[in-house]
Symmetry: C2
Subunit: 321 residues, 2 copies
Amino acid sequence: MAAIGVMPEMNGLKQKSRRSAVTLILTVLTSSQSILIVWSKRAGKYEYSVTTANFLVEALKCALSLAALVRIWRKDGVTDDNRLSTTWDEVKVYPIPAALYLVKNLLQYYIFAYVDAPGYQILKNLNIISTGVLYQIILKRKLTEIQWAAFILLCAGCTTAQLNPSSDHVLQTPLQGWVMAIVMALLSGFAGVYTEAIIKKRPSRNINVQNFWLYVFGMIFNAFAIMTQDFDAVMNDGFFHGYTLITVLMILNHALSGIAVSMVMKYADNIVKVYSTSVAMLLTAVVSVFLFGFHLSLAFFLGSTVVSVAIYLHSTSKARR
Amino acid sequence: MAAIGVMPEMNGLKQKSRRSAVTLILTVLTSSQSILIVWSKRAGKYEYSVTTANFLVEALKCALSLAALVRIWRKDGVTDDNRLSTTWDEVKVYPIPAALYLVKNLLQYYIFAYVDAPGYQILKNLNIISTGVLYQIILKRKLTEIQWAAFILLCAGCTTAQLNPSSDHVLQTPLQGWVMAIVMALLSGFAGVYTEAIIKKRPSRNINVQNFWLYVFGMIFNAFAIMTQDFDAVMNDGFFHGYTLITVLMILNHALSGIAVSMVMKYADNIVKVYSTSVAMLLTAVVSVFLFGFHLSLAFFLGSTVVSVAIYLHSTSKARR
């Protein structure tokens, strides 16, 4: 330790502030995402094909990564770490997260046969637990007991904050609904943890190259989704039918948050991502009070208190790695 | 430490198991108390004077303490620690908890001008926080940061478990209602912590003597309450008017739980008492499912999860004393 000197300490500080910056950006982008969704719902129902929007999000992320790379190439020149060309060995795992998300999105259409939309919002909090479990199993990083306690609190707190008088319906979910919700939580958790594993496997590789390849496969899989789900609509009404200003803003926001998620995976981890998106959920509710005149419930205050304690416990308990 | 040897270790073990036993007994008695209250409500409204019942509870506790003392005197003889006679210096503080409870009970009638009964149930959870604050200030025992986090979680979890669709009304409580609720929480917390201070001040003094004197003043203050509140009813309809089997069971249960609370104060502390009564609240709800066909809400499951994590955190974090 004594031999390390000043440079790595400065790097440590730089890494810590980069970590905080990407986490903050992700939190802000995620909350504005939810606000855009509420706004677009208020403005009327979706008239555009969701699959084309998803494709454009991937394409935009790809373009932004490429633009960042061009800037880096001009500044530092092309090196082994930032060259775009890749090996089969590096690239072969990149389609896996995109494929997992595709399967999860397809399942999403079927779960609504068993659960209503508010119930699905509540069941989605199972993602928190599945991410924790898979993070520990796949990335082999141990969460301390206090951190596990904090993670359970985060899940309970988020669910409490979302409670409304009809939430008890979710307890009547049939077994098939529970199984699908758990499978979806595992798929989503696995995709997140697997992406982190891919990105972290080559720490010195430039994040923009890693993103570029991730998003290329995202584009391919989403093109497949357009063909199978919205082929007729796109052929008859055009690719951009029903697009409005809000749609464009949502695509922009999704692309930026997607990149922020990747950055969090590179410089922090999935656990930080889960905390960040949970705080975003609470922020959204508070902002909605001012923007849309929403009322905050007692359950929201209680849930926020529990989430705050969870964040405190997580941050005071050092990770045993 | 090395000089202490085996005996105190055995004493430590004995003390620990006594501590667990009184805590368990308090939990069971408190939950059966609530079940008796539900049962009595189902059987019809109270027809008896609550003040006469409270007086009988104090009298019964007094009699039970005296009976326990007689057994001890026969076995061990009368010593300085178990003699009933006392000094002004010892006894002068004993009326204070009884007086505090009396003031609190009188305030209870007025708070309902500002809050409805379910709202009052929710505000009563402020007792948890006030007990923690006063415990730290008066008994000068420091709770660790994790234990404070656990205590906040206990309060949030208990409140969450009690949520129902009309709970949001409590947010419309006027300022006077909040002030009264906080004053009542402070009175109740102060009475509890002060009782612990009195009992712990003389560790070698037999608990039954300490209880006897506490309950003598309890009887006096409750006699005062009968005179001021139910004098006419008692004079016209008799002391025992409206008593049923349930009333008798409730008096018996209140007397036993009162003694259990004293035991917890002697061998454990107010913090353990708060955890014990919170668990009792959850137990009551579960038992009511079987006894009265109640339904458990999603909020109940979430609240119970948070309370369980709170208990876990409290027990793993050693108190810095």
